[in-house]
Symmetry: none
Subunit: 161 residues, 2 copies
DNA sequence: CGAGAGACTGGATAATTATGCAACAAACGC
DNA sequence: GCGTTTGTTGCATAATTATCCAGTCTCTCG
């Protein structure tokens, strides 16, 4: 399944790119743009990606267009998290409404700080130990969504569910 | 037609208000919220208002919700606060008679200054740290009212509401 | 005053988006 | 290995949103 995960990640990256560059007013447009970029996906998949990436559909000058989340546009605090995940191997697991992340010993606080700076909507609070971070979500559904978003930063899903 | 114009304006104001205060995930929800606020309108009209006001439908926490773009109604010396909230994501929470706001690291003082300049009646005093601002109200009732007003500026309510 | 233009709205419906379901692939535990 | 669990996707379709069109109201001009 590593294949599928990698494909998904690449597709979502491409998705962010095309929506920020072009004016795409429907998901069908997005599908076409992705196809031109070499990614095959259906409208259903795009719809799910939109949720996971937190994209918005804005109404502007009488028309509509998809856009990246405003927080991500000005290079919001998420850049730090992204860099962290590039520098260190981080694994994420689900425990009901809790997302449990494990990184290298001594780096948990830095990771938690980066998470806080990212202002992830689903996160109610974070708690860091030495190499482990707990992220509390309001419920299992949100925790699941949160972990999904984190994988877009390069965090690897770990079993133990 | 003066009537119709005024009605439209009032409705759109109410629309901005309900959308920034509640989590409305469909236009049908919006219609119901408006009706509770004393405004009759159909989904078709709401759809048009959404375009006119530049509202966005954001995907968050795995669900969807309408939100103000970053523009809202006019105010007094509150313009600075409004602009601040447009530029930075600010979250507000309630702690008895205290309103706790969190913004991006290093911006708390600017936020507090903007709050002071707004001369909010309910605020007895403000105290800024690095990314957090405390606003003291005389009592819980006032704190609650204050947070409600702040949400009309685009400050997101944090916590179970 | 009556005709015409322009603004706003709702009903009906076309267009678009979200989701239940099933299929399949990978990872885990035994 | 083999059964179980989790994750991703497409298809079909339900749910939601945008828009066409007609009706009403008001203002303006002749």
């Amino acid at each position: 399944m590593r294949d599928a995960l990698a494909r998904k990640h690449h597709r979502q990256q491409a998705l962010l790119r095309v929506v920020s560059q072009q004016r795409l007013s429907t998901q069908a447009d997005v599908v076409r743009a992705l196809r031109r970029a070499g990614f095959a996906a259906t409208q259903a998949t795009v719809s799910r990606d939109v949720v996971e990436l937190g994209l918005v559909k804005v109404a502007r000058d009488g028309t509509h267009a998809y856009a990246p989340p405003s927080a991500a546009a000005p290079g919001g605090g998420m850049e730090r998290l992204r860099r962290f995940c590039e520098d260190y191997p981080v694994e994420g697991a689900l425990a009901t409404n809790l997302v449990v992340l494990r990184s290298l010993p001594g780096t948990a606080n830095a990771l938690a700080a980066a998470l806080d700076a990212s202002r992830l909507d689903e996160a109610v609070g974070t708690l860091a130990g030495d190499d482990t971070v707990f992220i509390a979500a309001t419920n299992e559904r949100h925790a699941r969504a949160l972990l999904g978003r984190l994988t877009t930063f390069g965090i690897a899903r770990k079993g133990t569910k």
